[in-house]
Structure formats: structure tokens, C-alpha cells
């Protein structure tokens, strides 16, 4: 470092006309921190008067108008890590100002350069963290909320939703903060990408250096990347309160932004005021696919959702990772997005008591073991990733964690890329940062030794200026010495180690011969201890003091008593004052430097074959994991995806759910995912497995019209009365054990519905229970679109508490009006679009195009009979109301769901052609179901209504076969008809009857093998095929039970063998556990609680 520039900064910040810099040799300047401390001390009076404001104000009266010349520095002799995979063993790095000027091979001395000796050190490009809130002190104003907030205040053209802050440019709010920068600097980071992590559209980030300068000087890129999340953060607006609502909001906002851009370009707003609203947020988003987004996601499912959403809008960007990527590695890889990884490896799960152990999930145990391996697995899969300090409570854990990842197989060069080039790419600064290359910013991390092993960070260069963390001189003085005296007749070896606190530690080598023993006491100790008995083994002693004056007492061989010794490590000499007062000279020889010694040790270890094997064994042990990786990676996940079965099922009782009825002693052949053949005594095609099903029953897979399993983040967007834009398909959770449990109950297809909290809910998702598949893989391909509507108590908020009395509608009258109004709006929207499309292109240019509206689009699909309505309903008045409303708007109601008073209007339902999907026996849990009767299904079915039974329950979905039997018991329905109520009838209601719901040649092989009459309470499934793949097999289930118990024990035992250090890791975050979803579950996904009562014993809850 040259002094001038340094001086000028000091002038600016401290009223100190003669900064107390001691010397300006390149080798020996003190770190910045020291300078400032001294300056403050010298001016303590002023400092006290001005308090901490001193640091941010210029108090210097003297103004220098001449510009400082740029400094030229040569870092000489270090090993230069130019970029991942490119190392210059010994080179000279030339820095001019804040940029790298040249990278020279060997030891060179450019003319005029201030040379800094860096021999023996390793220089890396400074590390980059693309995901921080560094320097952003801004907080959104806290607002109290004691009632629902449906609309927010509009200021300055902000977005209509309080979670959209796209207009925020965080550069405008940025101020450096030396103290918080230390967390990064101490880990070798030199620049970070920052934004305020609050809201869904979080605004545009800023990329800044961590240098301690004014904001204006450290901003690399004032328009960094844009930040996105699913979390509405501090927004007090109710909408969205579900994950699917947040996704819908992002979708709508991105479409709005495109629309805004197109219209803005079209219109010159200054001559057409009022034509297009001013919207700062949409304006800031611009054309969405022109921006690089950094998507903050809290878990793996959301990470994959974010990547799908980005694909949908062709957004480029990076995903904040969560450490669980290994569990769905292929999906991450295919997404193509790069990942920003927090090193949030969890602490070993608490197995200290039976209670805590019992509550542990296998998935948690597995994750604890796999987390360090995640990085190498991602790296091996070719996924590009950066690292971040985000997600680590104690930032000192960063490097120890990274080393765990290296131990678990991560390559050093991959780690380096993650810290430098890949991070620069994600942060959008790869053109000038992340490498040691001419023209690049002079951000450096200087290490003594290999940081990926045991190297220590010596200093960082921030924009060409060094912040030394360990004085290099003192490092250089450490090592092994030989102490000679009395004309070198005597010699004692000692190790000198440098302590982080600035002192030195001296350890005399234990001599083989006690006669030549030497020991040293500190001054203090020497005073209180008798000088005799100095023969005991010497222990390392600590001497506070400067390197040129280390003092202590030591018993030296050949000398009586303990001499007072003064050593000067720099001058390599010293004196010993003997007991008799005489002084003798000591000479010091620096045998090896500390680093060289370490390397020598390492080399010795390498050549030591047995040591090498030991190290390898340790590494292997690290890599050999006990836990399994299954799909999904939870208990009962599958080790391998089930293949398409080629089976010949023989001699079963076949429940066809077709006109053929029940066929005794019949065969069925499954091939290529379909039912190849049904008949008696069929020939077994070659290569097919036979299953003896004599005495057993074979049915179509059960179809459930109404379910809320396998969802994340809420089943209700229960804020606005109309939320037709939200999509259940956005929030599927393929990890939900409910999928497996219900599959084991014979269910192969289920319609996942939005809840019933608003008259017009969200779009449904039909799934097949393909346990082991991805979220996308669960979706039923080619099924008609469908949407949930709802009537009655839930939508008029009858049971929501006293806070919920302001949303329209509050009565069944209002429900009718609200739905009709939404349809009218949808019609108007379609008319507007049609009218606009009819205009000539010049006419179109003169006006604003209709704004996209996903909410109304979904309703337009209903009006065009392109989206089926499944409507939650109970009482006859509302059923009739909606029948007539649908007729007035020209569409047919596909199914009334629950429809417990359907029996009262069975004729009308039949005449309209509406289906009915009901419960066998639920009633009396709320007033509107007091007239529910167990004969409902029978009466509707007798009147010609297409009737089915649904579960709407995690629990009961496992036993829909028994529910069907109740209609036989209560009202004498035939067995065939009862069975159809859970197979072909719901399939027809869902528009998938051509493919599934019955046993018929050519249909998809969704099939259940039962060990008894399928509607008997004693019946259990033995095998369940979905698409001809055996996704459930009772025998395999038994095996898995045993294997999982063993795996669990092994993992717990592994934890028990670890010491505290081995168990350490990130403390678990209090993850919000999700309830079983019901129609009326009110769940605030972004806050703390679940406001619905959870029933304890049974899961019917309320509906």
C-alpha cells in the first residue's frame, strides 16, 4: 500500500492532521483498524463530543483539491489462483488503483510499484455472496392490523398489493456498515449482492464492495438483480394468504408488467394523461424476461415451484437453495437454474430422550447425514451454484461447514468456482469480478496455506486496499528456532506460534536428556514459583509482547537456576540474565518457517503409506452414508420407481363397474400400462408374471372427487370472495405420506380441490396417486379443467369469528349476487378483448389494451364450458339457486360436492344433468348439515342423479370402500351400484371415464387387488396399480417397515457415536407444520398460525 491514498481517506474521516502512521514500508503497515483506533484516541475529546456521528461526517477543514495519483502495488511471489482450475505457482499481481493491472509470471518488480512480499501465500479472487441484506437499514413501516385488510393505501403509484415492492431500488437505501461487513470479510468475501428481503416482488438489488468507504464509492452495480419470493412478508394486506395465492399474484403481476410496457411504449403519456395509470411497480418490472431474478425459497418444494414459474415466464435467474437439493437432484438439474446455497447443515437431531427421538422423522435423520454431501452431489450433476452466508446463524461456521462438504466429496475447484466465478455470474458482475485477471476489480482473499484444507485467511483486498487480518510479519516470524548460547556449546530447539490475539507462544522441545532440559516461565509465574524443580516436562508457555521483545524466565541446560531471557525474533538474538546477575548473549536460528514446516509435515504424511490409507479410510467413512435416498425422500419412499408391470391376474372376482357387472373367476392381463385383456382362462403371454387371485377381488382404482391431500401452503386462498386465479396445481406436495396411505386404501385418482372459504375458490388439480413421482408427475394428464365454487356457511363466514363480518357476501342472498357479478365481469372482460381485437392496428395503438386478468379468464372458461364447476353445497335452497344461475349463464354444473340435501332436489339435479358427490353418513357438525341423511346417495341415485361418494378427509380417503358399503346397509343400494359410486361415477364427474374408473379392455390399468369382498370391513388391498405400475404392494410395505426401523436405529447410533463437535450444525428453524387440510382450514402460510380448530381424534373436522 502506498500511503497517499490512505492518508487522504484518513483525512476525510478523522480530524487528525498528522495521522500516526508509523512507517510506510510495504511490509509493515498496521491494519486499518489499528490506525483508526489510534486516531480516535488522539482526538478523544472531539470523538466524545461528536459521538459515533464522527465516523460518517467529514470534520476535516482542510480541503485538498488535487487528485490523488492511483497507487501501483505489486503483490510479489504468491501462488495466484487466477480462476478455478488455473493456478500460477509463483507470480506477481500488479494492482493499479482498484483494478488488477497485470498478472505476471514469477517474481517481478514493475517499475514504480510498491512491492509487497507475498512469498508462500496464496491469493484468490475475493469471494462473492449474491444473497445478502448487507447495508440495507431500511424497514417497511410496521402497521397494526386488527381486522382483515382487503385493500392497502396507494402512495406514489405503488402496486395494488402490499407485497409488491418492485419499484424499490436498493442502491438508494444502501449505506456501508463496517461492523456487519466483518462477517463476510473474515470469511474471505469482498463483495455482496444486497436487497431487503421482504415481500414477494422485493425490488432491484445492489452489488457492493465490502470496503469501508462511502456508499457512492463501493457500489459496483446500482441495478443488480431483482429479488422474488413467495412470502408476502410484512404486508398487512390479507391477499395472498396462501402459497398458491402468492404464485397467482406473481403470475398476474408479471403479465401486468408486460401489458404496462407494451402500452407505455404505445402511448406518449404526456399528451394522453389519464389514459394509462401510472404504476411505478409495474414500470420497474418492465419486460419480465429482461431481468435476472433471484428467487428466495424456503424449501425444496418451493424451490422447484419457483423454477417452474420462471420457466413459464421464461425468466432467467437463480434459486436460493435450502440444502435438500440432493433429494430431487434430477429435477433441480433439469430446471437449468443455478442455485445459491446456504451452508445450513443441520445439527444432529436430538436423540437424548425417548420423547425427542420418537418425534424425529426418518427424513430429518437422513437429511442430517446427507446435508454436507449435497454440494458435491449438485456439483457432480453439473448444477452451477454459488455459496452464501445466508442461513447460517454464526457466520464463523461458514468455513468449517464448507470443509465438511469438501470431506464429503466436493472438489476444491468446484468450491472455488462457487465462491468466485459462479457467484459473480449469478450476481451479474462476472465481467469484472471473480477472477484474477487484468481489468478485474482488485478484490482478493490472501491465504496462508490452502483455505480448503487448513489455510488461514491473512488479509483481503477490497477494491485494491488491504484489510489485514493477520499481520504477515508475525506470521513470518512463527516457526521452529534453535536457541544457542555460550558459543553455541548449548542449543535448545523451540517452536514459536503466533496466537490470534497478537501474542506469541513459545514451546521448548522436550529434550531426550533431562540434563539439557529447559523450561521457561512467564514473568508473572516466575515471581511466585520457586526456581528449583525445573526438571519437569516443559509445557508451552505464552509470552505477551512484541516480536522484538519477548521476555520470560527459563531454566537453560548448563546454567543454574532460571535465567531471565529476552528474545528478539526479528534480530534473531537475545540475552539471558543469570541468577548471579551476569548477562550472556543468545543467538537464534530460524530453522523452518511455520508454513514450510506444516507443508513438510503434510508431505511426510503423504509419503507415509499407512497414514495415507488412514486418511482415505476416514474420507470413505465420511462418504459412506447409512441413510437411504428414496423418492420421495421420506419414510415409505420408494428406492426405485415402479416399472410397468406385465402381469396376468388369474381367477379373480372382477368388479368391472361396467354393464358386465361382477365377473366370477376371471383373468385380467396388464400390459404397457393398460388392461390388455379380460376373460376366463386366458393364456399367459410369454414373459408375463402370473398372480393367483382365486378367492380375491379385482376392482378399478377408487376415484375420489373431493380431496385436499398432498398440498403445501394452504388449501384456501380465503381472503377475497373470488379467487379463481389460484391454482391447486401450483402447490402439490409429492412428499405427503397421505398419498401413500390413500393409495394403500385403493385410491388411484383424486381431485384436489380448493377449500370452501369463498364463493369462487381456485382451480382444482386432478392427480393420480403415483407415490414416488414428482409434483408434476402426479398430475393427471389431459383431464378437463375444473374449479371449486362454494355456497353456504363457509363462504358467508358464519363460523369465522367476529372479525369477519365485512366481506361481501354475508348471506346466501349475497352469495348468489357475488357469483353473478363475477360472471358479469368475466363477460365484460371478454367483450373488451373482442372489441379491442376488432380494432385496426392504428386504432389499437391509440388506446390501452385490455389488462390481462387471470381471475376473470378462469370464469370465462366456465362460461364457455371449458372449465367444470364442482360446487360445495349443502342445503336445497342454495343448490337450486346455483342450478338456475348456471342455467341463466348457459353452462352445466358438473358436480355438486357434499350436497347433503341433494335428496330434497334430486329431480332438479337429474333434470339439469348435474352430478352429486356426497358423504355416506356425515351430519350434525354444523347447522346446514342437520338435515343430512344416510339415505341421500340412494335417493339421488334412484332419481337418476349421477352420484358418487367422496372423502374430503385424509383419514376416510383410506376407506372409501367401507363408505360405499354403508349405502348398501342404510338404504339397500345394490353392491354394483355402490361400487360405481367410488369408481366410474366420480370418473364421469371428472371427465376421465374414457380412461379410468372401470375394468375394461384398453383402459388404463388403475387396478386394486383386494383380499376379500371390496366393500367388506375386513377387506384390505394387496396390490394397487396406477397406470399399470405397482405403486403399492402390501408385501413391499412390510419389508419397508422392517428396513426403515433398522435404518432409523443405525442413524441414531451414528449420532450417538459423535462428540459435541461432530453433532454441531445449524439449529432447526421452527418450521411451521402444516395441518391436514380441510375445506374450511384457514391457514396463514406467511405468519404463525392456523386459526382453525384441529379435531384430535378423527379427521373429519368440518367441511
Amino acid at each position: 500500500m502506498t500511503g497517499l491514498f490512505f492518508f487522504s481517506k484518513t483525512f476525510l474521516q478523522f480530524p487528525c492532521p498528522n495521522p500516526p502512521l508509523i512507517r510506510l514500508t510495504s511490509f509493515d503497515y498496521p491494519p486499518i483498524k489499528t490506525v483508526q483506533t489510534m486516531a480516535i484516541n488522539r482526538n478523544s475529546l472531539i470523538f466524545l463530543l461528536l459521538g459515533s456521528a464522527c465516523c460518517s461526517l467529514s470534520l476535516e477543514a482542510k480541503t485538498l483539491l488535487t487528485a490523488e495519483p492511483e497507487r501501483l502495488i505489486a503483490l510479489q511471489g504468491a501462488r495466484l489462483h487466477l480462476a478455478p482450475g488455473q493456478t500460477l505457482e509463483q507470480g506477481t499481481l500488479v494492482i493499479q488503483g482498484n483494478r488488477i493491472k497485470a498478472v505476471l509470471d514469477g517474481i517481478q518488480t514493475p517499475a514504480g510499484a510498491n512491492v509487497i512480499d507475498m512469498k508462500g501465500l496464496d491469493i484468490y479472487p475475493g469471494f462473492i455472496d449474491p444473497f445478502t441484506e448487507y447495508g440495507i437499514g431500511f424497514e417497511y413501516p410496521k402497521q397494526e392490523k386488527d381486522a382483515p385488510v382487503y385493500e392497502i393505501g396507494r402512495i406514489g403509484g405503488n402496486a395494488a398489493n402490499g407485497a409488491i415492492h418492485a419499484e424499490k431500488q436498493w442502491a438508494h437505501f444502501f449505506a456501508p456498515n463496517k461492523e456487519s461487513a466483518e462477517a463476510w470479510v473474515n470469511n474471505g468475501f469482498t463483495s455482496v449482492h444486497s436487497a431487503k428481503f421482504d415481500g414477494i416482488f422485493r425490488g432491484t438489488g445492489v452489488h457492493v464492495s465490502l470496503a469501508d468507504k462511502i456508499a457512492n464509492d463501493v457500489i459496483y452495480s446500482e441495478r443488480g438483480n431483482s429479488f422474488l419470493s413467495f412470502d408476502k412478508g410484512s404486508s398487512i394486506q390479507d391477499y395472498p394468504n396462501s402459497l398458491m395465492g402468492a404464485i397467482a399474484l406473481i403470475r398476474q403481476t408479471l403479465m401486468d408488467a408486460s401489458w404496462y410496457q407494451q402500452n407505455k411504449r404505445r402511448l406518449a403519456s404526456d399528451n394522453q394523461p389519464g389514459t394509462l395509470e401510472f404504476n411505478a411497480a409495474l414500470d420497474a418490472i418492465g419486460e419480465p424476461n429482461q431481468t435476472f431474478y433471484i428467487f428466495d425459497t424456503p424449501d425444496l418444494n418451493n424451490q422447484l415451484r419457483a423454477s417452474r414459474l420462471m420457466k413459464e415466464f421464461t425468466l432467467s435467474g437463480a434459486l436460493l437453495g435450502n440444502g435438500q437439493e440432493y433429494a430431487r437432484l434430477n429435477e433441480i438439474k433439469v430446471s437449468g437454474a443455478s442455485v445459491i446455497l446456504p451452508l445450513n447443515f443441520p445439527a444432529a437431531p436430538d436423540v437424548s430422550s425417548p420423547e425427542t427421538e420418537q418425534q424425529l422423522k426418518l427424513a430429518e435423520l437422513r437429511h442430517w447425514e446427507y446435508a454436507p454431501k449435497n454440494l458435491s452431489m449438485l456439483s457432480d450433476a453439473g448444477v452451477s451454484f454459488a455459496l452464501t452466508l445466508h442461513g447460517i446463524d454464526d457466520k464463523k461456521d461458514f468455513w468449517p461447514r464448507l470443509k465438511k462438504a469438501l470431506d464429503a466429496g466436493l472438489e476444491e475447484q468446484a468450491a472455488l468456482a462457487a465462491l468466485t466465478t459462479d457467484a459473480a455470474k449469478i450476481a451479474g458482475i462476472d465481467k469484472f469480478a471473480g477472477k484474477l485477471s487484468p481489468g478485474f476489480i482488485a478484490d482478493l482473499a490472501v491465504y496462508s496455506g490452502n483455505p480448503f484444507k487448513d489455510g488461514k485467511l491473512v488479509s483481503v483486498f477490497l477494491m485494491g486496499e488491504e484489510t489485514a487480518l493477520k499481520p504477515r510479519e508475525q506470521l513470518a516470524l512463527a516457526g521452529r528456532y534453535e536457541l544457542g548460547y555460550q558459543d553455541k556449546r548449548h542449543a535448545v530447539k523451540l517452536d514459536v506460534n503466533h496466537s490470534p490475539d497478537g501474542s506469541f507462544e513459545l514451546a521448548f522441545e522436550e529434550p531426550a536428556n533431562t540434563n539439557t532440559n529447559a523450561s521457561v516461565d512467564t514473568n508473572a509465574a516466575a515471581d511466585s514459583k520457586p526456581d528449583s524443580k525445573s526438571e519437569s516436562a516443559p509445557s508451552p508457555i505464552k509470552l505477551a509482547g512484541r516480536p522484538h521483545e519477548l521476555t520470560g524466565r527459563a531454566a537453560l541446560p548448563g546454567i543454574d537456576g532460571k535465567a531471565r531471557i529476552i528474545l528478539d525474533l526479528r534480530a534473531k538474538k537475545g540475552t539471558a540474565t543469570l541468577a548471579d546477575g551476569s548477562v550472556i548473549a543468545l543467538s537464534l536460528t530460524h530453522v523452518t518457517e511455520a508454513k514450510a514446516a506444516a507443508t513438510a509435515k503434510a508431505d511426510a504424511a503423504k509419503t507415509d503409506a499407512s497414514g495415507d490409507e488412514k486418511a482415505k479410510a476416514k474420507a470413505d467413512a465420511n462418504k459412506a452414508l447409512i441413510g437411504k435416498l428414496t423418492s420421495p425422500n421420506v419414510a415409505f419412499g420408494l428406492s426405485s420407481a415402479p416399472a410397468q408391470d406385465k402381469v396376468h391376474i388369474q381367477g379373480a372376482t372382477l368388479w368391472t363397474s361396467e354393464a358386465d357387472g361382477i365377473l366370477e373367476n376371471t383373468d385380467l392381463i396388464i400390459s404397457k400400462g393398460r388392461i390388455l385383456k379380460i376373460g376366463q382362462n386366458l393364456m399367459t403371454p410369454p414373459g408375463f408374471t402370473k398372480i393367483d387371485a382365486r378367492g380375491k377381488h379385482l376392482t378399478a382404482g377408487i376415484v375420489d372427487e373431493h380431496s385436499h391431500i398432498a398440498l403445501n401452503g394452504g388449501t384456501n386462498e380465503d381472503t377475497d370472495a373470488v379467487t379463481s386465479e389460484v391454482r391447486i396445481g401450483d402447490v402439490l406436495n409429492p412428499d405427503d405420506i397421505a398419498l401413500y396411505r390413500s393409495l394403500a386404501g385403493g385410491v388411484t385418482t383424486a381431485q384436489l380441490l380448493h377449500g370452501s372459504a369463498n364463493p369462487i375458490g381456485g382451480q382444482s388439480q386432478l392427480i393420480k396417486l403415483r407415490w414416488g413421482e414428482t409434483a408434476e408427475g402426479l398430475k393427471y394428464e389431459g383431464a378437463p379443467g375444473s374449479i371449486k365454487f362454494a355456497l353456504g356457511e363457509n363462504v358467508k363466514q358464519s363460523n369465522w369469528g367476529d372479525d369477519y363480518t365485512t366481506r361481501f357476501p354475508q348471506s346466501r342472498m349475497g352469495v348468489e349476487a357475488a357469483i353473478a357479478d363475477a360472471f358479469d365481469a368475466a363477460r365484460q372482460h371478454q367483450a373488451d378483448i373482442a372489441a379491442f381485437e376488432k380494432l385496426s392496428s392504428s386504432e389499437q395503438k391509440a388506446r390501452v389494451s385490455p389488462r390481462p386478468n387471470l381471475r376473470l379468464d378462469a370464469l370465462s372458461e366456465v362460461l364457455a364450458s371449458k372449465r367444470d364447476v364442482h360446487i360445495h353445497s349443502y342445503v336445497q335452497s342454495e343448490i337450486l339457486m346455483f342450478l338456475r344461475l348456471a342455467e341463466a349463464y348457459g353452462f352445466k354444473v358438473k358436480a355438486f360436492t357434499h350436497v347433503l340435501e341433494g335428496y330434497k332436489v334430486a329431480k332438479e339435479l337429474a333434470a339439469h344433468g348435474a352430478g352429486a358427490s356426497t358423504f355416506s353418513d356425515w351430519w350434525a357438525y354444523k347447522f346446514e348439515v342437520y338435515d343430512a341423511i344416510v339415505e341421500n346417495a340412494c335417493l339421488m341415485q334412484q332419481q337418476g342423479v349421477l352420484t358418487s361418494l367422496n372423502s374430503d378427509s385424509f383419514e376416510m380417503q383410506r376407506r372409501l370402500n367401507q363408505e360405499a358399503a354403508k349405502s348398501m346397509m342404510y338404504c339397500n343400494m345394490s353392491a354394483e351400484d355402490a361400487w360405481k359410486m367410488i369408481t366410474i361415477n366420480p370418473a364421469i364427474q371428472l371427465g376421465i371415464e374414457k380412461d379410468t374408473g372401470s375394468l375394461k379392455e384398453g383402459k388404463v390399468a388403475d387396478i386394486v387387488l383386494w383380499d376379500a369382498h371390496p366393500m367388506s370391513v375386513y377387506a384390505r388391498t394387496e396390490m394397487v396399480w396406477v397406470d399399470g405400475k405397482r405403486h403399492f404392494d402390501r408385501e413391499l410395505d412390510r419389508q419397508m417397515q422392517a428396513e426403515q426401523a433398522a435404518e432409523r436405529r443405525a442413524l441414531i447410533n451414528k449420532i450417538l457415536t459423535l462428540d459435541e463437535e461432530g453433532r454441531s450444525g445449524e439449529a432447526p428453524k421452527a418450521a411451521q407444520s402444516e395441518p391436514e387440510w380441510h375445506c374450511d382450514t384457514h391457514f396463514e402460510v406467511f405468519k404463525t398460525g392456523i386459526s382453525t380448530q384441529q379435531s384430535t381424534q378423527h379427521s373429519h373436522g368440518a367441511h
Binding site: 394403500a744 351430519w923 350434525a924 357438525y925 343430512a932 344416510v934 340412494c938 370391513v1017 421452527a1070
Partner: protein
């Protein structure tokens, strides 16, 4: 002998749909059910056997029975079962759970030992007929609460008033054992443990205080304390304590209390009871398991775990009954037992768990079996009453009284059939 003409259920309902279900009068004439397959529960299944009922009790079981003036029901090809006893219900304490004025199941406070479920029982609840329609003749009605919630009662399900309905049984108190859900965060977990310890010491204190109060009252009879006095029977063994707890750790904790005061106790819940089998047996504690048709408590549990708990308890030698908690839902008790039967328990044991053992655990020793001298609570069905596929219940008797099996549901059905 008069011939009893059996009227099929549907027809009976259609005739009767214009008026209410009227409680049956006391048995006046002997009743002879002939040639039935008799599921005695206490003594196996007897084919082609007759049962004679007089004055509300079973007089004789066998062949060639005769009684002057008896009503005779030819039960050839049919099955005769004892009436089922539904434990841990809120039948008649709540009509519509989401309509607050109709809910009388829960009250505020840690010690509500003096609260009586019988005080709120509504024999006209429309829910009641739906239970007896499925063969349930008696229900234990249980207050819900935070800790010591109050006293349950055993009622028959065909009565004018609660006083008609009540069956003489030992006083039964219900204690809801605290079962902490441990948070993931270490510090929060520590807090939860600490809170739990405090809750446990509160229970200790409650029982110690009650115990010493009762001892003191011997010498100071003027002392009054409704809540402690309501607990008196616990300490002399005349009252039972039903402790609601599922997890093994909670059951272990509860057993400490049981053993300290030598309580006559029952565990209600018992999801993990099999893990504490020895302790339960040593303390003579039976289990009421109400969660057959519930989800497994933990996501990693075997998928059939909740169904298979009764089989595990049977294998471990624990005395137990199967229940189905709630109000309207309790009518599914037989099918819960049926599903437990399918998961290793077997039909006979499943039937016993909702009849004889349930009655015994409720503290009644003359109910739940077809046995001479026992109350004539009988269910006549075409098939297996645990299986909705075959069980068609045709007649139910409570204390020998032929019960009206109509329900509000059937009435509405008949009404709308006419539309």
C-alpha cells in the same frame, strides 16, 4: 303365545314417519327369541339357540325354552348380539358442534371434578336414535376439559329423561393428561419440557391437596370444597379415574400417579399402550382405545398403525375396549371394531371390545354379554354387525324393551320419497 310380526325397517319407518320416536315401555311380557346364532361374547357363539328374556334380564339361553305368554321372535338364520357400549362419547351433550349454544361438552378450569355430564344429557337429541339404529344401546358421556374435566355417566339410549337413562355405575372422573408436542428448536423444546414438568407437579399438588383435604374432613366435617369432595372416591377406590393419554411417556407418568394413590384407573387413548404393557397390567389399568379410524399419530408410523393398536394390546395381554369418540360419529363404533378385527384382532375379540369389555371398563358387570342374569340388551341382525356389508340390524332391545329404530334421517328419507 303371541306371534311377533317382524316389520322390515323401511316399512316400519314409513308407517311411523309422522310421529316422534317414543321411548319403549318397560318389558311387560316375556320375550323368546328362537333359533338364533347367539354371539354370547362370554361363552362363544351358539348356533340355533334360543334366548328368553324376562323383566329386562336374560332368563335363559338354550333350546326348547318356553315361557307362558311370551312374545316369540323366530330368529332362524339371524344373529343375536349383546348391545354395544360406546365409550368416550359426547352424545346428548352436543347437538351441532359448530352451533355454540348447542355445545355443553367443555368447561374452563383445571379442576372441574364436580362437573357432571349427566347434568346436560339431552335424551331427545336427534343423534341418539342414529346410534341405537346401529346396535349401540349404551353410551358413556364424557366431559372434555383441560385437566380434571369432570364426571362421565353411563346412559341407555332410549329414555324420557336422564334419570331414566342413567345406568348405575361407579363414579368416573376424567383427567386429560398433558402431552406436550415438542418443538424442533432446542430452546423452545427446553421450554416445553419445563412447562410439562410444571404441569406434572400441578397434578401432583392437586391430588396431594385433595387427599389431605379428605383426610382432614374426617375430623372437620364442616369443611366444604365441592371439587375436592368430588375426588373423594378416587382415594378409597370407589371411584374410577379415566386418564386420557396416548403417548407411552404420558402413560408412564400417569402410572406413577395411579400407583401412588392406588387408583382404580383406565387409560383413554392408549395409542402407544402396548409399550407400557407391563406397567399397565401391574397397576390393573385397562385401556379405552378410540382411534382405530384415525390417522397414525406420526407421519413415519406404519400406515396401518392406528388400525392395529388393538391387536397389539391383545398380544401384550392388556385389558382394553374399543371406542369411537365424538357425538354423531360414535355410530360408527361397530365398523371401527370391524376394521381392528381385520388388522389382527379377530372378530370375536373385536366384538368383545365393544360389548363385554366396554361395559366392564365402564364399571358395569351385568352388561355386554348374552348370559343368564345379564341385562337384556340385545341386537338382532341378518348378518355380522361389525360389517356394513352384511350387518342388517332388525331389532334392538334395551333391558328387554323393544326399541324404535327410526331416526330423523329415515323420517326425512320417507318424506322426500313422497315428493
Amino acid at each position: 303365545m303371541k306371534k311377533f310380526v317382524f316389520i322390515p325397517l323401511l316399512l316400519a319407518s314409513s308407517i311411523a314417519s309422522s310421529h316422534d320416536m317414543v321411548p319403549a315401555t318397560d318389558q311387560s311380557a316375556p320375550l323368546l327369541i328362537t333359533n338364533a346364532t347367539v354371539h354370547t361374547v362370554s361363552d362363544g357363539v351358539k348356533a340355533n339357540t334360543s334366548v328368553l328374556v324376562e323383566q329386562g334380564r336374560i332368563k335363559a339361553i338354550g333350546n326348547n325354552l318356553n315361557a307362558a305368554g311370551a312374545t316369540v321372535i323366530d330368529a332362524s338364520g339371524k344373529h343375536l348380539y349383546p348391545g354395544m357400549v360406546a365409550l368416550d362419547t359426547q352424545v346428548g351433550m352436543v347437538e351441532i358442534s359448530m352451533v355454540r349454544p348447542t355445545v355443553d361438552t367443555y368447561d374452563v378450569g383445571d379442576n372441574n371434578a364436580d362437573l357432571r355430564a349427566a347434568a346436560v344429557f339431552n335424551p331427545d337429541s336427534e343423534i341418539i336414535p342414529t346410534l341405537r339404529r346401529n346396535g349401540i344401546t349404551h353410551a358413556q358421556i364424557v366431559p372434555r376439559g383441560e385437566l380434571l374435566a369432570g364426571q362421565s355417566a353411563l346412559v341407555n339410549l332410549d329414555s324420557w329423561t336422564v334419570e331414566d337413562a342413567k345406568v348405575e355405575a361407579p363414579q368416573s372422573l376424567h383427567l386429560y393428561w398433558p402431552e406436550p408436542k415438542l418443538p424442533a428448536k432446542a430452546d423452545e423444546r427446553e421450554k416445553a419440557f419445563a412447562e410439562h414438568s410444571k404441569a406434572l407437579s400441578n397434578i401432583d399438588k392437586l391430588f396431594a391437596d385433595a387427599n389431605s383435604f379428605i383426610a382432614r374432613k374426617q375430623s372437620e366435617p364442616k369443611l366444604t370444597h365441592r371439587r375436592f369432595e368430588a375426588m373423594a372416591g378416587l382415594f378409597d377406590g370407589s371411584a374410577r379415574l379415566f386418564i386420557h393419554a396416548d403417548e407411552a411417556s404420558a402413560i408412564r407418568e400417569a402410572l406413577v400417579l395411579v400407583n401412588r394413590y392406588k387408583l382404580s384407573a383406565v387409560i383413554v387413548g392408549g395409542y402407544e399402550a402396548a409399550e407400557v404393557a407391563d406397567g399397565l397390567k401391574a397397576a390393573g389399568v385397562a385401556v379405552v382405545y378410540p382411534s382405530v379410524l384415525s390417522l397414525p399419530r406420526h407421519s413415519d408410523d406404519n400406515i396401518d398403525e392406528a388400525f392395529a393398536v388393538p391387536a397389539k394390546m391383545a398380544a401384550a395381554g392388556i385389558e382394553f375396549a374399543i371406542a369411537y369418540s365424538g357425538d354423531w360419529e360414535a355410530r360408527n363404533l361397530p365398523y371401527a371394531a370391524g376394521y381392528a378385527a381385520a388388522h389382527g384382532l379377530g372378530r370375536d375379540a373385536a366384538l368383545k371390545a365393544i360389548t363385554l369389555d366396554a361395559a366392564k371398563i365402564a364399571g358395569v358387570n351385568d352388561m355386554g354379554a348374552i348370559k343368564e342374569g345379564y341385562r337384556a340388551n340385545l341386537v338382532l341382525a341378518e348378518g355380522d354387525i361389525l360389517d356394513p356389508l352384511t350387518g342388517r340390524i332388525q331389532q334392538v332391545f334395551i333391558d328387554g324393551r323393544a326399541i324404535d329404530l327410526k331416526t330423523r334421517s329415515a323420517q326425512l328419507y320417507q318424506k322426500y320419497l313422497k315428493r
